[in-house]
């Protein structure tokens, strides 16, 4: 418990969230800090009030006026809620309402119990067709790419997500079996991968490093270990990585 206390102390500095590494994360963090602070204040204020009124001896024999104790404070809280809603919806709209820029990097994320696979379109910038019938991890085809489809010839399927820094990326998520949750805390990003539909999220990594990818939707006994790594590297390192993978695909 003591170490818990120490952890508590250390955490308070960075508002508990792991350091942000995404462009939109800066605004998210500001909003999070602000809202959590305000609501914590409300919580403390209300509870102090509660303790105080229940300890204080009877002052006013008659109940106070509804107006004073109820409507006015309620009005204030409503204002607060409106401000919270407006600011947050702004951010949400900016993030999600329109898709990624045309020049964004495209990667397909394929989830299955209990693995993440990352499918790069390769040189021709086109994904090869994939069919569940062809799935065979043993033969190195975990997402069922169709060998007959020449779009798929140069495709890269990796088990870690390697991204160049400062380049917007458009992930398209799908799942082969059940609902999974694609969660990268440092990217302030979460989106479910739902079988049968393809969902897009886009973001821009702004800091090099290795970040955990967690599964945030219960999907079975391996849910807790359904984790992968997102490696954000410089553009040159990224190109080098692509080349090396492309070689491996060629053989």
């Amino acid at each position: 418990m003591l170490r818990g206390g120490a952890f508590f102390g250390s955490g308070l500095r960075d508002s508990w969230m792991p350091p942000n590494a995404a462009a939109h994360g800066i605004a998210v963090d500001q909003l999070m800090r602000w809202d959590v602070a305000v609501m914590t204040a409300c919580f403390l204020l209300a509870n102090i009030l509660l303790v105080w009124v229940s300890l204080r001896p009877r002052r006013t024999p008659s109940a106070p006026s509804t107006w004073r104790v109820e409507l006015v404070p309620l009005g204030l809280l409503v204002l607060l809620y409106i401000v919270m809603a407006v600011t947050a919806e702004h951010l949400w709209a900016r993030e999600r309402f329109e898709g990624a820029a045309p020049d964004a990097l495209h990667v397909e994320v394929v989830a299955q119990q209990f693995q993440w696979y990352f499918h790069y379109p390769g040189g021709d910038a086109a994904y090869g067709e994939s069919r569940p019938q062809l799935i065979n991890a043993a033969l190195g085809n975990p997402i069922g790419l169709d060998p007959g489809d020449q779009h798929g010839r140069d495709d890269i399927v990796a088990s870690e997500l390697v991204l160049p820094v400062h380049r917007e990326v458009d992930l398209q998520l799908r799942s082969l079996d059940v609902i999974h949750g694609f969660f990268v805390p440092e990217m302030r990003l979460k989106q479910n991968a739902v079988p049968g539909v393809t969902l897009h999220v886009h973001f821009t990594p702004i800091r090099e490093g290795v970040y955990p990818i967690l599964c945030s939707q219960v999907c079975g006994s391996g849910h807790a270990r359904m984790q992968a790594h997102m490696r954000v590297v410089s553009q040159s390192a990224y190109d080098a990585w692509l080349v090396s993978r492309a070689k491996r695909v060629a053989q």
């Binding site: 067709e129 994939s130 069919r131 169709d146 489809d149 049968g196 393809t198």
Partner: protein
Amino acid sequence: MPATFTRSVVDTERERKDPGFGGRPPVDRRPTGGGGGDENWDHRHGRGPRALLTRYRMGIFSALAGDLMFFMALVTAFFFRQSSGHFDGHGAYILDWHPLTIPPILYINTAILLISSVTMEMGRRQLFHELDVMEEWLGMGRPAARRAAPWLAATAALGVAFLIGQWMAWKDLASQGFFFASNPSSHFFYLITGAHGAHLVLGVLALFAALAALSLLHRMELRQIFVDCTAWYWHSMGIFWVFLFGLLVFFQ
């Protein structure tokens, strides 16, 4: 025994004597029914002999309100499912919804069900026939019950006919190779007709029970309640069916 329990034991004791739900024993002048702030309380509708009736009507109506939500959920699923398809490998959007042709017999069934609603209403009316009700109330014979019985029997018969009709419709589809699992529209066809059919089975059973009640139950208002609630249930099943049928015919 603690003090307060004896009070409720008094209640249980009293239950034994009092003939049925809510019939008020002489000692307890506590009125039941509807609250209401108006001064001339005694003129309020909802007390007196009809109190029990209104209570049970309220019950059946709230139950039916819930039931309506059940069918609403199915209909929502129907439209949701109708609009969900998938992309094949070549990026072509594929809808697997193949409308299926409604077996013609359903039109006949619908007619039968509507007629049955009429007979049901006739039967219900009988039990609220002033004179007959008074006679029965005073315990001289059961003219109302006697008049109602044939109507109820007719309704039950029509109900059974409807169910058989639905069954034939299913057989018909099966012979064309459409089974429950065949494709989405057949899922919904069987599901909707099945769910509604299950409700009607209950309705028919209720009708038989009501027929029995007419001769077995001793209190007039219980007989009324039995028939009345069955009737409202039956009518709403008819209405639900009309809407569901319209859904199956026009919105596939």
